[in-house]
Subunit: 205 residues, 2 copies
DNA sequence: CACTAAAACGGAGGCGCCTCCGTTTATTTA
DNA sequence: TAAATAAACGGAGGCGCCTCCGTTTTAGTG
């Protein structure tokens, strides 16, 4: 009984994605950007034809770049996660480190909110493409770690906590049931958490 | 801060489903039956309009009975599970108990095969409607238990095993990867298992 | 039966999905 | 810069989804 190679899912065939032609790259970026806006506005079932229309390209172009709705959702989600991670560095440069942390957590709430909107599609994507989840959640918690450590280091938040503690506290935001009050409740949680973190700042390191 | 009752999913509102009108019941049954055939033949994305057409009803009728594709999938799946459970009793009446068990396991393989076809939809249904999974898997293993116990009792299979052992052995069928050879492999597993069960039958009870 | 209200039917119509292929554009070559 | 060609564009067209509402059927009632 011979073992034939079971047809495997063709994960990016390592063939380094050759650079797109200039116009193609432009359209691709624009589509992802518009898709994020339209999904946020109309929900995950938004018309793909509307997205193409608003991006100023033909429907054929959308489908060439994103063969299925899920491809598009994945790209939107990845961009969202990257933007959140990138924001950590920018906020740290522009604000006192405790303020940077607070603002970042506020954005984290918004990020989770969009994720909820995409819930069903993401669930499918996560079981299909398990790298997606571990990639992004790893990078997001890395961004948080950076902010927490900076704030602890310069004494704007107390020194007896670490990033894992904060992540743990944010877990409630992630897993809370999806009620209408969810977003406000989450924002209050962030404020509470920050008050707790600032209390006794500058004591032990 | 008052706790308002969070809007809950309206699981069958206990309002005992009043009996349908005769024509409605007929159409509903026919639709479920045809849907099972069409899903098996064309896959989970089969056209609902084709199902209505083949059932000899209008598309509106299909949608009145099954407002979404998932409703239809759920009903098909439940019927399949019920048929499998019902078969246990019939086979037991018609065949020696070891043969009944063997034939039932063969049908179990077929049942799992259709489940695989419906995989994505079922995954969504299972996370949405968690009762569905526990209901059916409980009843299916109950049916198996009945067959195994009968066969042990009259000595056509060995007495030092119980239904849980057999269920455990069948677990491989359930969780094996979905290769082209899956079905044949599963059938061989059933035969092997039966050989093992028959070996030394009638010794200890 | 004849009549009626409630229930169910069914398909037209509007919209979105997705493919296919003729047209346009960016890039390379001479 | 002009010609050649590979790449990308875009929208028409065919099909499926789903709602809406006029028509038909059933199950009571006198």
């Amino acid at each position: 009984m011979a073992f034939e190679p079971v047809t495997t899912v063709d994960q990016k065939p390592a063939a380094a994605d050759k650079p797109l032609r200039a116009d193609a790259q432009r359209n691709r970026d624009r589509l992802a950007e518009v898709a994020a806006a339209v999904f946020a506005e109309r929900g995950i079932d938004a018309s793909l034809e509307e997205i193409a229309r608003r991006a100023g390209v033909g429907i054929g172009t959308l489908y060439r770049h994103f063969p299925t709705r899920e491809h598009l959702v994945e790209v939107v989600y990845r961009r969202e996660a990257e933007a959140l991670c990138a924001a950590a560095g920018e906020l740290a440069a522009k604000h006192p480190s405790d303020v940077a942390l607070e603002e970042w957590m506020r954005r984290f709430v918004d990020y989770i909110a969009t994720k909820r909107g995409l819930a069903t599609s993401l669930r499918i994507l996560f079981t299909t493409n398990s790298g997606l989840f571990s990639d992004t959640s790893g990078r997001v918690s890395q961004a948080l770690r950076q902010l927490v450590e900076a704030a602890v280091a310069d004494g704007t938040i107390r020194g007896d906590v670490d990033a894992s503690d904060v992540l743990h506290a944010l877990g409630g935001i992630y897993s809370a049931p999806d009620t209408p009050e969810w977003r406000d409740r989450s924002r209050r949680l962030v404020k509470l958490l920050m008050d707790g973190l600032r209390f006794g700042a500058g004591k032990a390191g």
